[in-house]
């Protein structure tokens, strides 16, 4: 197990998540792809911080902070999805093509 492998895996997962954000139209799937990207960044941070021994503790703390931000982002994103479904009866992002009156 080398750092290159961990960072490469994080890159692959990030690319898959980026593809989901660009490709899919379902708002909930876009949120899940965002979670994939945040998680791959977390993996990269953990792998990189394990190259620095005891000093790498900061990286683990950073991962916890990213986790809190991801939780808040999911809460607000799913609230937006619920609101979107109530107003347009769809969660496809293409349905949000009108400005509010």
């Amino acid at each position: 197990m080398t750092p290159t492998m961990v960072l490469g895996l994080a890159l692959v997962l990030f690319s898959i998540g980026l593809f989901g954000v660009l490709f899919r139209k379902n708002f909930i799937v876009i949120l899940m792809s965002l979670e994939l990207m945040l998680n791959s960044a977390n993996l990269a941070v953990v792998g990189a911080s394990q190259m620095f021994g005891e000093q790498g503790l900061q990286g683990h703390f950073l991962v916890l902070m990213v986790l809190i931000i991801a939780a808040v982002e999911v809460a607000i994103g799913l609230a937006i999805a619920v609101h979107m479904y109530r107003t347009t009866e769809s969660v496809e992002v293409d349905s949000l093509s009108e400005l509010p009156k």
């Binding site: 898959i16 490709f23 139209k25 986790l67 991801a70």
Partner: protein, 183 residues
């Protein structure tokens, strides 16, 4: 295996067996990639959420292999136990189990695929061209992380609690925006 190596020196000595850590690492890497592809490619968001669960659990196992059991537990509890359940609740609430027609096979999708594959290939090549140092593992316990959190990381810790409060208020506010019977 050891007696074979002693009986036939030279024949088996060149064989390097991967360590258990490597085998587990490759296994969980494969699982996490399968989960990620399920999220992105499955038209049904319900199965997408289950693929995301597979991805989160295998990343949690990988944190364990990277000598960080506390992050592994937090990953399983918060992500797999909290966020996935949140996604599943919303999918069931909005009754989205029937797939939407959102597989866009137009030129835009192909362009996105090319862009992403290019990004991944350039990144992986760059990673292999510039080799990193090896691991200097540090076994992170909850004690170490908690001590760091309440000394050096105190400001970020307190600000994150404020961020959580703001997130809860914002989520409730967004959901209450809608009034029944109003267009």
């Amino acid at each position: 295996m050891e007696f074979l190596r002693r009986a036939h020196p030279g024949r088996f000595s060149a064989v390097e067996y991967p360590s258990m850590t490597d085998v587990l690492m490759w296994f969980f890497a494969l699982l996490s990639i399968i989960g990620a592809f399920t999220v992105v490619l499955n038209p049904n968001p319900f199965y997408g959420a289950l693929g995301l669960l597979l991805n989160f659990l295998s990343l949690g196992a990988m944190y364990m292999l990277l000598q960080s059991p506390i992050l592994s537990l937090v990953q399983v509890i918060v992500y797999a136990g909290g966020i996935i359940v949140f996604f599943l609740f919303v999918i069931l609430l909005l009754n989205l189990r029937k797939p939407l027609s959102d597989r866009d096979a137009s030129l835009k999708g192909v362009a996105a695929l090319v862009l992403v594959v290019l990004f991944a290939v350039v990144g992986v090549v760059a990673l292999w061209v510039y080799p990193t140092n090896g691991f200097t593992m540090f076994y992170v316990t909850a004690r170490d992380l908690g001590r760091f959190m309440l000394t050096d990381g105190l400001l970020a810790f307190e600000l994150s609690s404020f961020l959580l409060l703001v997130g809860v208020v914002a989520a409730i506010g967004i959901v209450k925006l809608y009034k029944e019977g109003e267009e």
